[in-house]
């Protein structure tokens, strides 16, 4: 639909800017129809997503939350968000020893600082602390 708003092709080109995305959208529509047809034709087990173990929902949603919060944390705290991302992911995935979590998170931050910001001289983001 967004491709409909694109201008037509230049004089030298018959197909234009919108043609290729529209072609892809059409192809995806055909694939969707084929997918629905295969879901009807094939036996149910062929379409099932099989899992050996019950999923670890707490770890999954915890990690997803860290992913979603990573950008605001990085924009506010800059490099200081690194131990929070590390510690958050560790806690979400079952780490329970506070000493280990703190030590690993701080060590990861030091390694990141040394590799990225000292060795590869990327400007250190400091978020609000840098203003």
């Amino acid at each position: 639909m967004a491709a409909d708003n694109l201008p037509p092709g230049a004089l030298f080109e018959q197909v234009g800017t919108a043609f290729f995305p529209k072609l892809l959208a059409g192809f995806l529509a055909v694939l969707s129809v084929l997918l629905m047809a295969s879901a009807r034709l094939l036996p149910a087990e062929a379409n099932e997503v099989i899992e050996d173990e019950p999923p670890d929902r707490q770890a999954f949603y915890g990690t997803l939350a860290v992913i979603l919060l990573a950008i605001p944390a990085w924009s506010v705290l800059g490099l200081f968000a690194t131990p929070l991302i590390m510690a958050g992911t560790m806690v979400a995935n079952g780490a329970r020893r506070p000493a280990q979590i703190v030590a690993v998170s701080l060590a990861a931050t030091v390694v990141v600082y040394l590799v990225f910001f000292r060795l590869f001289t990327v400007p250190v983001p400091l978020g609000l602390f840098g203003r």
């Binding site: 230049a10 295969s38 173990e53």
Partner: protein
Amino acid sequence: MWDNLALGIQEALTWQSLGLMLLGTVWGFIGGALPGIQASTAMALVLPLTWGMPPAGALMMLAAVYVAAEYSGSVPAILIKTPGTSAAVVTTFDGYALQLQGKGGKALSVSLYGGFIGGIIGNVMLIALVLPLSRVALSFGPAEYFAFACLGLALVSSLGGKSVIKGLASATFGVMAATVGIDPFTGTARFTFGSQDLTNGFEATAVLVGLLAVGEVLVQARDATPVQRFTGTVSRALVTWREFRPLLPITLLTGVLGMVIGVLPGAGTTVASLLAYSEARRWSKHPELFGKGSLEGVAAPETANNACVPGAMVPLLAFGIPGSNSAAIMIAALMLHGVTPGPMLFEKDPQVVYGLFAGLFVATFMMLAMGRLCIKPLLKIVSVDKSILLGAVLTLVVVGTYSHQQSLFEVGTALGFGVAGYVMSRYDFSPAACVLGFVLGPIIESAFRRALILSDGSLMVFVTSPVAAVLLLVAVLTFSLPLVRAAYGALSRR
């Protein structure tokens, strides 16, 4: 050619290149040994770091990661029956049986020597094949390029997972994502929705890192299977020359086989190791030992998957078209440095191509030299807590994608594509095919539109060129034959 090769060797033997390859080898060993981190994921994680490096050095470092990761995937496969990379699944069959018999050291050394021989065979064949093929590529017009890229996508989609349709849909989604940004033909902004950040489209580094690494973090987080830890001991006895000599014919055969499979788009190291294993069993004098601790059963897949690494470079260097995820990352690294991949690379940037040739040899020797030294540290890394591993990967993704252009938008792109990659994995779509679609997207669109401009808008250009017609026909058959077979099977069951 010899002058250029000398130039490449000179480039690979500078202290800077050797240092980068050493870093790449160490990181490849770590990444490959960690279950859940594929060789391509390990490469994707260091991709943002290559930004400040010379193009040849960046490619050499990525090649070293690739070579080392393909070997080290066999370490947990042999010791704890948990393959570090998907290609090492086959190595668990006999490698773990040997470890249970107290012959873990022999299995590890056979894997190392096999990988070394495979790497050398692959590198020699790469140099022999890629120059003639690049001349063929120079004769390709846009129609042929379009057809070749479509064939690559069709092969990747059909070999990638359970469903060809889902594979192709994933690849198409990748191509679609690549259309965002300024249209290079008309200068019109497409799907940017007024955002300045989207003007240049999604950054390849962020998309690749997101799909391959963040998606895998979510998959691993959801997976409640406890991490296998190594608790036993590894015998120090290595394989002797007397034991290894009978394996030489099978390593040579599977080395060539692995290289050839590597050249085929979409096939990759997993297919190579599986085929090598079944061929080795077919040719073996003792097929009954396969699965029960056969050294041939370790040598064959490990030789093939390391020979596959240079094989994957053939379509990349000769045609500028990646045939695997790892090759797609190499292309992304080239594009990051403004180097256009393809046959003209041999003329315009010989130090990059020949540096890569020489770098692959050096990386293979580094793998051999460090393979033995790294086993003990790798045992510790294999048993690392999952929470630390996932935290480290996520931290690397955030810092790595930010470091590229100091842009939070890129971090968001990586994380967003990561969630999309997870959803794909969860419902049997293929993030790998999506990665290839994203990298091939601009090549496909540009070739398609150029072909139509040259033919005055006639689609017949894809049929009147015999090469394009044959390639497109094979692509259509690759996609449609499994569908027809499945439909026929379903109808005959009713």
